[in-house]
Symmetry: C2
Subunit: 231 residues, 2 copies
């Protein structure tokens, strides 16, 4: 049975890394001694080692060991054998490129489908959707495909931002960008605000956290979903 926590962000304003969600993670990973960390998204360009170290320090708070996927010669086998998996945020184009280049995309999908507990934040959440086409990230590298894990039946826009009515900036709002996506694609998109997460148990997907989330479908006006909503 699938078991995922899919978080909009790793860190809330004024908080420290994953602190707001650590009690949830303690339960989520309760049967795991060691978490396999996928550091491919490299936020701000930090190294795989640095990123893994940062995550390891956080997970000691709930008595989990952390190993980085980059430390294994056979990445696919490491994923398959993991007790629990966490994919961190950063650049989604880079993450997806690396998942394909290291032949991890398919095995990661199967491993999640088979019930290995998975945690994603930001880019690591983005890839649980059908495609990465509603990422906010810059295309710093050309991936072989935009197709992602599809372990949930829609797409995500993490770090969802409401239009700033005071802003004089004329760049597109997040809502306009998602509307452009829907001019060419039918996949629903969930705008997940910072502090929200999805809990997936088998086919049951529940919106968690204090905030509402914004649900976009092609040809319809977007709607606000209350926390606790089951998809």
């Amino acid at each position: 049975m699938k078991k995922l926590i899919i978080a909009s962000t790793s860190t809330l304003h004024g908080g420290s890394y994953l602190d707001y969600i650590l009690p949830v993670l303690e339960n989520h990973f309760k049967d795991c001694e060691t978490i396999l960390f996928i550091p491919y998204a490299r936020p701000g360009g930090i190294s795989h080692d640095e990123y893994t170290q940062k995550v390891a320090e956080t997970f000691t708070k709930i008595n989990k060991k952390v190993v980085g996927l980059h430390q294994f010669d056979n990445a696919a086998k490491a994923v398959e054998q993991a007790e629990g998996i966490f994919t961190g945020g950063g650049n989604t184009f880079l993450l997806v490129t690396q998942l394909y280049e290291n032949n991890v995309m398919d095995v990661l999908r199967n491993t999640i489908e088979n019930g290995t507990p998975y945690l994603g934040s930001s880019a690591g959440s983005n890839i649980t959707g059908i495609s990465m086409q509603t990422t906010n990230d810059m295309p710093i590298i050309y991936p072989p495909s935009f197709k992602t894990l599809g372990v949930i039946p829609f797409n995500l826009n993490p770090h969802y931002l409401d239009p700033d009515l005071q802003s004089k900036h004329m760049g597109e709002t997040r809502e306009t960008r998602i509307k452009e996506f829907h001019a060419f694609n039918d996949i629903p998109v969930l705008g997940l605000r910072e502090g929200s997460w999805l809990e997936v148990n088998g086919e049951k997907i529940t919106l968690k956290g204090d905030l509402t989330a914004r649900w976009f479908t092609a040809d319809n006006i977007p709607v606000e979903l209350e926390t606790g909503t089951v998809f």
Copy 2:
């Protein structure tokens, strides 16, 4: 001799379409009766016809006719024979995909190199750089390549936004995203704020408008360039 106006945005806050730059365009296109408009980027998903109509209404103010590239059976030939060319903003992934699919990318590059006056705004400016990899847009469609015209020897980030120090949002700032680009690419990036534009005359590139622009190179601290700077 190359002759380009490369604008960060079509519209300033509180202004109307292209109004802030219309006197410049009147001179830029002084030898053209008709402007060929490339509507491929479709902001907000509007149709090619609607977009071309909007641009045509604006250009009547400086007595120019406008025809849409989508109206021609042979797009490459239409580009080659144009008196002047304008590529409007919208989604850069869509624009680049369409330029490749309609076999326009190479002929557009050659036409600009041969001296046909070109105007770009936003996505239409992005494509004048070496690659589209510093766009802000969502990857709503998978282009055959991220390589663009390369008629200027660096990349652009249009609608450049300074970090909002009051914001509690934890998504990456524009500067962080460009830093991630430079972890994998050596191409310099010019952050062009709304209201700034580049004027290209042959190999001379000049920063115009009232604002400074931000210049990012790999492994260096970004610098502010004064208006009037010649690259």
